[in-house]
């Protein structure tokens, strides 16, 4: 994927969110992501971990991330459901499922609904998983770049207004920023 590799050079920082109901798995994955010595290195990784998919979704409301990694089998909701919800919040995030178990139906939902980029099986190989993460990040960066360029072109051609283009640019940079959540009483909801 030469284009992805090309855009990899543009990756300056990677915000990762990892969800697994087992803290030890989260710790291991965090260490793996942060460990620069074992190639391939993830550029400037920032790792957030959650044992609860619900809390992770709350976090995603206001915090844009580049990549979401999720376990499949969790007590609160399964990985496919979680990533489907996460996708609604941050459509431009890349998504990976890493699991020891999933049935065909679950995998289908993960691909069709959650639009995952990779399915990694447990036990994972650090090298392979990191390679997958780097590749997915690069792919995602490319998609975002494409979208930006496309918007630029459309704006220049007058297909969309300056305002619309600006909104989309903002949304790409900070997902959710253009969507204001209203409470029932008409107040603006701020969650942080």
């Amino acid at each position: 994927m030469p284009n992805s590799l090309h855009s990899l050079e543009k990756l300056t920082m990677a915000k990762l969110l990892i969800v697994d109901d087992e803290p030890n798995v989260l710790n291991a994955l965090r260490r793996m992501c942060l460990n620069h010595d074992a190639p391939p290195a993830i550029p400037n990784p920032q790792v957030m971990t959650f044992t609860s998919p619900v809390q992770a979704l709350a976090y995603l409301q206001d915090h844009p991330v580049d990549l979401i990694i999720s376990d499949f089998r969790m007590p609160e909701m399964d990985g496919a459901t979680f990533l489907t919800e996460a996708r609604k919040l941050q459509v431009n995030s890349a998504r990976i499922i890493i699991s020891a178990y999933a049935d065909i139906e679950g995998i289908m939902r993960a691909i069709n609904d959650a639009g995952i980029f990779q399915f990694v099986s447990k036990p994972w190989s650090d090298h392979e998983l990191k390679a997958a993460i780097v590749q997915v990040l690069a792919h995602r960066a490319l998609l975002v770049e494409n979208q930006k360029l496309a918007n630029e072109v459309r704006r220049q051609r007058g297909v969309i207004s300056e305002q619309q283009a600006e909104l989309e640019r903002l949304e790409l940079e900070s997902p959710g920023i253009t969507r204001v959540r209203w409470a029932e009483d008409g107040s603006v909801l701020l969650e942080d």
Binding site: E22, N24, V25, N27, A28, L29, R31, M32, N35, D37, A38, F72, R73, S99, A100, Y101, A102, D103, I104, I107, F119, S121, K122, P123, W124, S125, D126, H127
Partner: protein, 490 residues
Amino acid sequence: MSITETAVALGGGKTADLAWIRALYEFGQTAAYGADPLRVRQDILTHIVQGFDAESGSIALIVDGTEDELEIAAGTDLPQGIVGSRLQRGVGVFGHVVATGQPILINGNAAEAGLPLRVSEPRNRPAHSAMCWPLVVQEQIIGALAVNRATSRQRYTVEDLDRGQALASLLALVIANHRMNVERDNRIVELSTLNDTLQRVNAMLEDAQGQLIQSEKLASIGQIAAGVAHEINNPVGFVSSNLGTLESYLQRVFALLNAYIEADQATPGPATPALVRARMLRTSHDFDFLRGDIVDLLKESREGLVRVKGIVQDLKDFSRTGGEEAWEMADLHAVLESTLNIVRSELKRKARIEINYGNLPKVECVPSRLSQVFINLLVNAGQAIGAEGKVTLSTGVDGSQVWIRVEDTGSGISEENLSRIFDPFFTTKPVGEGTGLGLSVSYAIVLKHGGQIDVESEVGVGTRFTVHLPIRHTAGAVAQPADDLFKSAA
């Protein structure tokens, strides 16, 4: 001896007449021991005809399963072909006697005797004096007996008729007894046939039950396997990842330490107290050993994890014994050859491989799964051989099935182990060399193919595994073993 005398004998107890009765009884006994019933009845009749001092006699019996249909069961002086023939229903002397249950005496013409019937006894010479008694057993008429005396002789009297009734009863008993014996013999034959059938059915049932138990065992173990695989893969995942991270951390720590050591050695002049303490620690903590051993520690731990992963992989394979794969018509010899290529290097170190292929048609199967079975059997065969030996691979056709046989000249399997070799996790191999799943996986795969694996073994001589497979696969022909019950473990 005249009938009168016989009758007297019955009442008076003369020894000679007792001998006659005894002879009659013995005929009945003979009949009991399976002699030809026709012969026996004929002999009894002859005996009775002599006893009544008659010229001829005949016996008619009611045909089994009918109410009044008569059949000539025996007769003296009868034309050929009469014995065994049926009599017209309700007519004739026999018909009359059986219908009324009363004995009759006929002297001269039957019509003259006041019989309300059309007399036409099936005999070529007309009787002059005749008696006919019903044969009664337990108040049921089973037939009739008739004796005839020629014209020139003295006529039978009513007294003769009365006295003869006792003999007729005796005869009835003998015949009934004989019938019962024959029936009993038939029943014994029937029962033993039935018994044989039952035993065969029972054996089949036991066989089927054994297979069912085995497949249930496989199914439940497969379910556990799928669950266990998931549970194990999580910890294995992070332990393995942590080991990798630890190794990379340690490299950095060692790099740092090495730098310090080099710096220490490169520093001229007297050592500072801190340096002295560091040097002491380095010696007392056996630092060089630690550095070397940490590498081994990590390597060994990693090996352990690789093994755990292998077992988990086996478990996963076990829970998928051939459901998803496509069935195809495959040349099993080609499958065997490709399998042999995989295991040949392991086998040829100590075993000669002898190939004895028959003429096999293409078989409907999942080749990759069968290959797994053959690998297991061939590797086992190789492992059973101590120093050197022979592994024979042969194939053949048997009706609608084919068979593939793997035979080794190895150590053999003891009888107590033989019944357990298909049990999941049963292994005689040293710890770490076998998970005990190979044969149970093979069993499940073959079962899935609608076939079976037979094993024969003798300790010290060798073992022979025979895989039987139907040429055409019929879906659902076998109890579903492990697969389909689980979701695929990812």
